[in-house]
């Protein structure tokens, strides 16, 4: 491929089914379709997000695109190469960052981990050591590079994952839940690093179930639910999807599940989302009625103690809830 393909990623009707077995002696085969026909494309230099709850099919999709899984049906091209037939060409050019606790060799140092993968990616030996040092500097691990990974904190391991994912200087980087399990500061640093990569011209596809993260980082978002893409647009456009909806946010004390059920049954209520854990409970009610709905709410929640009622602009989270409901 001498010329650059038009799109970085083109996915067409990707499907992936899994078969699992139940039982020990008399095995029953169950087929589950994790991805049910996903189509989308990603431009060069774009930061594209796949947003969805756990089990929606994000990880399966990313694994298909990174050539780790063969789709049951459908096709996709990554950087112009077919994900089933042109595997090596893709692998040379992409970076994979799945994050988490696993995926690193614990008993050796961070530098050794990077060196190993540098070799497996065929980084020329003349460039290898310098690139490793540069990456370690970039992710802030230079002073702990020669310590064993088993002594790294969660955040440090994540940073090492990022360095590892960039070891072959990829054009296109796939990230699966890059900030999951990180403390807020580490997560913020990671997001800053991601933005930095896009500024350098890299293309990034990331999956996340954090709404605010998708909102902050992504230029376009594909919302996945139960193996299908239910919406694909920029964050602002997705928010417009709920533009005629306002959110009545109630902070209260003593709200029960039965109250929520009653709320949901109201004719003007689109969705009710509540966080009833903890001392201060938050109930978010999507309704086109806006402030007119406030008296209704106060009456229905009369048994609880209401601390505050606000009208909020719909966020991406509200759009998302409406889409995946």
């Amino acid at each position: 491929m001498s010329e650059r393909p038009e799109k970085a990623i083109v996915a067409s009707e990707l499907r992936r089914a899994y078969t699992t077995t139940k039982g020990v002696f008399r095995k029953k085969h169950i087929t589950v379709e994790a991805v049910k026909g996903i189509s989308f494309d990603v431009d060069h230099g774009e930061l594209f997000g796949l947003l969805g709850p756990n089990g929606a099919g994000k990880t399966t999709t990313i694994k298909m695109l990174t050539t780790l899984l063969i789709p049951t049906s459908g096709t996709a091209k990554v950087l112009g190469f077919d994900i089933v037939k042109d595997v090596m060409n893709i692998r040379r050019r992409i970076g994979i960052i799945f994050g988490g606790e696993r995926g690193l060799y614990y008993r050796v140092s961070g530098r050794e981990n990077l060196r190993y993968f540098a070799d497996l990616y065929g980084v020329p030996i003349s460039k290898r050591d310098k690139r490793i040092s540069d990456l370690l500097d970039m992710v802030g691990l230079a002073d702990r590079a020669d310590h064993r990974v088993e002594g790294y904190s969660r955040g440090m391991k994540q940073r090492l994952h990022i360095a590892k994912g960039l070891i072959n200087d990829p054009q296109l980087i796939f990230m699966d839940e890059p900030t999951i399990g990180l403390d807020p500061e580490a997560a913020r640093e990671t997001r800053a690093m991601i933005k930095g990569l896009v500024e350098k011209g890299k293309t990034i596809l990331l999956t996340t179930h954090y709404m605010f993260e998708a909102d902050e980082l992504c230029q376009r978002i594909g919302v996945i639910s139960s193996g299908n893409i239910v919406a694909l647009d920029s964050p602002s456009e997705l928010k417009r999807f709920v533009k005629d909806i306002t959110v009545v946010e109630v902070e209260a004390f003593g709200v029960a599940d039965t109250d929520l059920a009653v709320l949901r049954r109201q004719p003007d209520v689109t969705t009710v989302n509540a966080d009833l854990e903890g001392e201060r409970q938050t109930v978010r009610i999507q309704t086109p009625k806006g402030s007119e709905f406030i008296p209704v709410v106060t009456k229905l929640l009369s048994k609880a103690k209401i601390l505050d009622v606000r009208i909020k602009e719909p966020t991406l989270e509200d759009a998302y809830l409406k889409l995946v409901a």
Binding site: Y18, K63, T66, T67, L68, L69, I70, M88, R91, R92, I96, F98, G100, E101, R102, G103, L104, Y105, Y106, R107, V108, E112, R115, Y116, F117, D119, L120, Y121, G122, V123, I125, R148, K164
Partner: protein, 262 residues
């Protein structure tokens, strides 16, 4: 990435992991060590040549044991640490990664020979002399190569059958018996001898004995160089088979999504 870069990276990583925690080789070499100790008891008054025989045999069994273990668990270990999908996602061919690991395991199996050597030297005060050191070294290196290549075949077979542990446990004992490490394969039932002869390392240990003893008649009587030829060819054949099998393995792993299963 050339296959050499991949092979060397995998070999190196495997060695690094060993040196970080060397005690974990014990499970793989304790059996050959004890077996050799029993053999030394059987030998009775241990002359130098018998002690050498025991060291060679014990070393060979140790190499077998550790290679089988390394090959059988090479990718299983990658699964447990979660690194398998990353390794699979690189543009390096899996076969060379496994070959590196297998070679490292085979080489480390020599630790067993060292342990037996120490026992022979200290316990029996034996003085071991090898008649033709260069020929011995050649035979040893080629045996390691053949063993490593065979480990690659085993690894792919284990992956395709999904019962690595069964196979590793199940193969270890028959191979100690059939490899001719401690006693000639001529003692075995005639129907099992072709299987023994199909294993390159069986010729290897025979070649090493040719080089070690001046008066060795050998397994087949065809002489040292014939053994060397068979060793060399076996390595090529095993690698070719392993290469083909791994293409199947890679595709299967991607199709069946078995990357993360334990």
């Amino acid at each position: 990435m050339t296959k050499y870069q991949t092979f060397w990276a995998s070999f190196r990583m495997s060695m690094l992991n060993f040196f970080v925690d060397p005690q974990w080789i014990i499970p793989n070499i304790i059996a050959p060590f004890i077996y050799t100790a029993v053999a030394l008891m059987f030998f009775g008054n241990v002359s130098s040549s018998l002690a050498l025989y025991a060291v060679l045999g014990g070393g060979m069994m140790g190499m077998w044991g550790n290679t089988l273990y390394g090959a059988g668990f090479a990718l299983a270990q990658e699964r447990w640490t979660g690194t398998l999908e990353y390794v699979l996602g690189t543009p390096s061919r899996l076969v060379w990664i496994v070959a590196g690991r297998s070679s490292s395991s085979a080489l480390l199996g020599l630790v067993n020979a060292l342990a037996v050597l120490l026992v022979a030297l200290i316990g029996y005060g034996a003085q071991l002399g090898i008649a033709n050191p260069l020929a011995f070294l050649l035979a040893l290196v080629l045996t390691l190569a053949s063993l490593s290549a065979l480990g690659v075949v085993f690894c792919s077979a284990f992956l395709l059958t999904r019962s690595a542990q069964v196979m590793t446990n199940g193969l270890e004992m028959p191979i100690y018996v059939a490899s001719g490490s401690m006693f000639p394969i001529a003692l075995l039932p005639f129907w099992s001898q072709p299987m023994a002869l199909a294993l390159g390392p069986t010729w290897g240990i025979d070649a090493m004995r040719y080089a070690a003893y001046t008066t060795y008649t050998g397994m087949t009587g065809f002489g040292y160089w014939f053994n060397i030829l068979v060793l060399f060819l076996s390595t090529i054949i095993y690698l070719t088979i392993g290469f083909g099998l791994f293409i199947v393995v890679e595709r299967k792993v991607r199709r069946d999504a078995t990357l993360e299963e334990y």
